[in-house]
């Protein structure tokens, strides 16, 4: 019997190695695999390349790992908001010292590059960024009279994703706007680890509601937390 549920977040992240590329789902705090990120901080793997939409703060999101100096490079669309005052010092210190590299990618291009990684599409042409500075580092080509940039697929060693519910086969369902980057990231990593609020019986998630089929998920860990708005 297929059983992808593991007992703890510690067990779930134990084989993450120094130098890994790790995709981290979520948009702000929505769909963010908070417990897995904290487990990764405690685990201590270093020299990581993180793919995530935004960095977050010193107390949530990828910012936790940056503050803990585990990150060598971030590939993101929104590196650091002005509100993240507590993270600013650590972030800029590492950035200016060259210890933290930042690759800025437009959000839709980031989402599509990750989808391409999971879908076996090696590269694609998008109009996003044409006629801007972004075009300087890209191959530019016209299709139907419209300039497009060539963008390459993104893949990862691990993906940390967050969903609402899972079953033992790794099927995931999301609640409201949790899907964001989680759906694509789950497809684009060698090992996909899902943090969920609840594990339920196989066959009870609803065949038409499963938006991450278990084929993409290697490990599931249940993290019971109270969900409330934290302002």
């Amino acid at each position: 019997m297929i059983k992808k549920v593991v007992a703890s977040v510690q067990e779930a992240v134990q084989d993450i190695f120094d130098g890994s590329t790790i995709m981290v789902g979520g948009f702000g705090g929505s769909g963010l695999p908070e417990a897995l990120i904290c487990a990764l901080r405690d685990h201590g793997a270093r020299n990581l390349t993180i793919v995530a939409n935004n960095v977050g703060g010193v107390q949530y999101g990828v910012g936790i790992l940056i503050a803990n100096r585990q990150v060598r490079k971030v590939i993101c669309s929104f590196p650091i908001g002005r509100r993240q005052a507590k993270l600013q010092d650590t972030f800029w210190e590492q950035y200016r010292a060259g210890a933290l590299e930042v690759e800025l990618v437009p959000q839709g291009t980031l989402a599509e590059r990750i989808r391409a990684g999971g879908a076996g599409i090696a590269a694609f042409y998008t109009p996003t960024g044409a006629g801007t500075g972004a075009a300087q580092a890209r191959e530019v080509r016209s299709f139907g009279g419209r300039e497009c940039l060539l963008e390459l697929a993104l893949k990862a060693d691990f993906a940390l994703v967050k969903a609402h519910k899972a079953d033992r086969m790794g099927n995931l369902v999301y609640r409201k706007a949790m899907r964001n980057f989680n759906i694509m990231m789950a497809t684009a990593a060698n090992v996909t680890i899902a943090e969920v609020y609840e594990v339920v019986e196989a066959g009870t998630l609803g065949a038409e509601l499963i938006t991450t089929p278990g084929i993409y998920v290697d490990r599931v860990v249940e993290v019971k937390v109270e969900r409330r708005w934290q302002g």
């Binding site: 948009f27 702000g28 705090g29 929505s30 769909g31 939409n53 669309s77 929104f78 590196p79 650091i80 908001g81 800029w92 950035y95 200016r96 930042v102 800025l104 990618v105 437009p106 959000q107 839709g108 291009t109 989402a111 599509e112 990750i114 989808r115 998008t126 109009p127 996003t128 960024g129 044409a130 006629g131 801007t132 500075g133 972004a134 609402h164 999301y174 609640r175 409201k176 706007a177 949790m178 899907r179 964001n180 980057f181 989680n182 759906i183 694509m184 938006t211 969900r227 409330r228 708005w229 934290q230």
Partner: protein, 234 residues
């Protein structure tokens, strides 16, 4: 309501600019609201007009902010603020969300701007001298939406024009802005030049021109904004 003299402090508030944009969004349009002034627009769409709001994190049919205590951490907008879902709304991934944007399915994206050029180039993601900008979804929206509208203050904090002959900041996308809503004017980008459609009460076209680098076209008399029903100044 004809403007007769320049009244320097009779500028629209951010919420009034948002209100102004909300009045001209049409029934049945699919609209993306960017961070900043545009995010206020959701509050001013008339109840009897179905405008469907898109949020790039994977929502169609976004509604207003819920009452305190009813916020849902799994239901936030592009600014990561809590929102609601209207009947008929739905959820999808960020890849599907930007497929919508890039594929030309969004009727209007309303965005903030640092600079707009006379031909509609948009710069809104980075100030030179800053080490890193935040691109977010701006480049995809500017390149993908059927129309890009800008909602912004007409000038920088130190009074310099933001509507320029050429943008000096890094571009978000070239040749994309169609309409500009500011605290003193409504301007349409046309092939010939920016066309001044409306001025704020108390502003005449010459005053707007002084705060705008490219030469503005206008037809006399330029309409003065009717702010009946707009949110109060404070």
């Amino acid at each position: 309501m004809q403007a007769t003299e320049s009244v320097a402090d009779s500028r629209l508030t951010e919420r009034q600019i948002a209100w102004k944009v909300a009045r001209v969004l049409e029934e049945g349009w699919y609209v993306n609201l960017g961070i900043g002034i545009p995010l206020h627009i959701v509050n001013y769409i008339p109840d009897d007009r179905e405008v469907i709001l898109h949020s790039e994190n994977g929502i169609l049919g976004m509604g207003t902010r819920p009452p305190v205590g009813e916020e849902d951490p799994d239901l936030v907008n592009a600014g990561k603020e809590p929102v609601t879902l209207r009947p008929g709304g739905c959820f999808f991934s960020q890849a599907d969300s930007f497929a919508m944007v890039r594929g030309g399915h969004i009727d209007v994206a309303v965005m903030g701007a640092l600079q707009v050029s006379e031909r509609g180039d948009l710069a809104n993601w980075m100030i030179p001298g800053h080490e890193l900008g935040n691109i977010g979804g701006a480049m995809d929206l500017a390149a993908g939406a059927r129309q890009v509208w800008v909602a912004m203050e007409h000038c920088t904090k130190d009074g310099k024009p933001k509507i320029l002959k050429h943008c000096t900041y890094p571009l978000t996308a070239p040749d994309c802005v169609k309409m500009i809503f500011t605290d003193i004017a409504v301007i349409q980008i046309t092939d010939a030049a920016p066309l001044l459609l409306e001025t704020a009460p108390g502003w005449n076209p010459q005053d707007v021109q002084k705060l705008t680098e490219p030469k503005l076209l206008f037809t006399k008399p330029v309409k003065v904004m009717d702010l009946t029903g707009a949110p109060a100044n404070k």
